[in-house]
């Protein structure tokens, strides 16, 4: 049998997807469990005319990304939790200055330098923002390598379309594992002239446009409060459109379910198996899998079968962060409970199933 799939390690597939999606500039600093991404980029980007720079730190990397993006480059960066934390100031600046960027967080256990095993405790960091001021970053959380590849491939375009950073939140598990994956075709890459023409906000040079009135300015400083308020309100009109257009999720088995899980990324895969275990015990369980974490898929919660469902369980690799959004989405319609491990520990599917049973028992 002939297959058009290839067997790739998550990190290498992520990097290849960004290249095929058109990313030609990468700035980064090695950190487990995503160091294969910069390694791959350092080897492969020069072959397609791109540039790889190992920055002196993540702080350097995000600011290089800011500059290269402002100049119209198609930029990709990656790091892991504490490295992404160092980049938060830059994320706020890029959002204010409307600079596109595709970013990948292969998250691990925290807080602090934490550990190197998979984690999802960056949920607040990534959905609420660790930088200052009013801003939003669309975040997508893939649960297998193919989905990660597809999101990264699309991500370069989304970043340009929304003129904002786009974050892909993976975790150590899907970054380190291997799965068959179908790689998309290489996107056409813009020439410098095409960039100057199509990205008509970017600082691509001054001479040929002539006159100070035609200059392009990329900035995040606005000293007059009236102007700053006006700018932030403009940004939030954009974010309101993004909330509608970028909301993505999957639901499974909601009709007639006694209990509904909410889980993303690796945890969604464990939960799927927990649902099979529960089914074998005569308990019908459903799943809401947010793909976009911001915008959070509130409307998925309207699909819950409120005649049969007694509880909603947020399954997370954290002490309970997404559960806040689950409660907002439920708006008091059902109680929300947590099934979790943290610090790099990953629950088994029987553990998750047992938690659901205990929750249902407790409600009787």
């Amino acid at each position: 049998m002939i297959t058009d799939k290839v067997l790739m390690k998550g990190n290498e597939a992520f990097a290849e997807a960004a290249i095929r999606g058109g990313a030609r500039l990468y700035f980064g600093y090695p950190i487990t469990p995503q160091s294969e991404v910069p390694e791959y980029m350092s080897r492969e980007l020069p072959k397609v005319g791109g540039a790889f720079v190992q920055a002196e730190s993540e702080l350097g990397a995000i600011n290089m990304a800011y500059g290269a993006g402002a100049a119209g480059g198609t930029v990709f960066i990656s790091s892991s939790s504490p490295g992404i934390a160092l980049m938060q100031e830059g994320m706020s600046f890029l959002c204010s200055a409307e600079v596109p960027l595709l970013a990948l967080n292969v998250s691990r256990g925290g807080p602090g330098i934490g550990g190197i095993q998979p984690g999802q405790a960056d949920y607040y960091q990534v959905t609420r923002g660790g930088g200052n001021g009013d801003y939003r970053i669309p975040v997508f959380a893939p649960s297998n390598i193919q989905e990660a590849v597809d999101l990264l491939y699309e991500g370069t375009e989304l970043a340009q379309k929304w003129q904002n950073p786009i974050m892909i939140l993976a975790d150590g598990m899907i970054a380190q594992m291997m799965e068959p994956v179908r790689l998309p075709e290489y996107k056409k890459v813009l020439t410098p002239d095409e960039i100057a023409a199509h990205r008509d906000w970017a600082c691509t040079g001054f001479d040929d446009r002539g006159g100070a009135e035609n200059r392009r300015v990329v900035k995040s400083l606005r000293m007059q409060p009236e102007k700053l308020e006006e700018h932030v309100e403009y940004l939030f009109e954009k974010y309101a459109r993004a909330e509608k257009e970028l909301c993505r999720y999957e639901t499974e088995n909601l009709e007639g379910a006694g209990v509904v899980f909410v889980a993303f990324g690796t945890t969604a895969r464990i939960t799927r198996e927990a649902i099979e275990i529960l089914a074998a015990q005569g308990i019908k369980a459903g799943l809401i899998r947010p793909i976009s974490l911001w915008p959070f898929p509130n409307k998925a919660f309207d699909e819950i079968d409120y005649k049969t469902t007694k509880a909603v369980i947020s399954a997370e690799l954290s002490m309970g962060q997404m559960i806040t959004d689950v409660q907002i989405a439920l708006n008091g319609r059902l109680p929300a409970f947590l099934a979790h491990r943290t610090g790099g520990m990953v629950p088994t599917s029987p553990e998750v199933a047992a938690r659901a049973k205990a929750v249902l028992e407790g409600l009787k």
């Binding site: 049998m1 297959t3 799939k5 067997l7 487990t32 469990p33 190197i116 095993q117 150590g172 598990m173 380190q176 594992m177 291997m178 799965e179 068959p180 895969r269 464990i270 799927r272 198996e273 099979e276 990953v346 088994t348 599917s349 029987p350």
Partner: protein
């Protein structure tokens, strides 16, 4: 519909991850769904290494497993850890060259393989893991022998292509 959940475990350098990758690759070539999940961490040469492989006719929901149909133990600590995680009726393949004890359970099928002796007889101790992989594949049918040979052709290229006959020999137990 069938799903195989497998552990491959041993010490660093014994070719444990390679075995898991070949099975995963072969499964993909057969059009099956498969996942390969290595343990990762601050390991060193000679430290422990293990991986989890799931091969299925349907999309693999979870790459993490808590019980296995097949366990491959290349050293004693691996056998101590993974023998209890086999399902009832599961298959345990262990490295008789290094492991002095027999299996503890009587509700599993155990295969004790003298991989070092057989590799030495072929004149190359590096193919010990292929001796083991051959036993696993031929006794379980998780993937076909042809698919594994197809993988050899994809993996052993250039100068390494000369190693294909030796690896096939080790694999077939000839």
């Amino acid at each position: 519909m069938s799903t195989y959940k497998m552990f491959f475990a041993g010490s660093g350098g014994q070719g444990v991850l390679m075995m898991g990758q070949i099975v995963t690759y072969a499964a993909m070539l057969e059009g099956k769904e498969a996942t390969f999940l290595p343990s990762y961490g601050p390991e060193m040469r000679g430290g422990t290494a293990n991986c989890t492989v799931v091969v299925s006719d349907k999309p693999v929901s979870c790459p993490i497993i808590y019980e296995a149909d097949i366990a491959v133990a290349m050293n004693l600590p691996s056998m101590d850890k993974f023998e209890p995680m086999l399902k009832k009726g599961g298959k345990l393949f262990y490295n008789k060259s290094l492991i002095e004890r027999d299996q503890n359970r009587d509700d599993i099928d155990a295969y004790a393989i003298d991989i070092a002796g057989r590799a030495a007889a072929l004149g190359n101790d590096k193919v010990a893991n292929m001796v083991m992989l051959g036993e696993v594949v031929r006794n379980t049918g998780v993937v076909s022998i042809e698919s594994v040979f197809h993988v050899f052709e994809k993996v052993f290229t250039g100068r390494k292509a000369a190693l294909i006959p030796l690896n096939k020999q080790a694999f077939l137990g000839e």
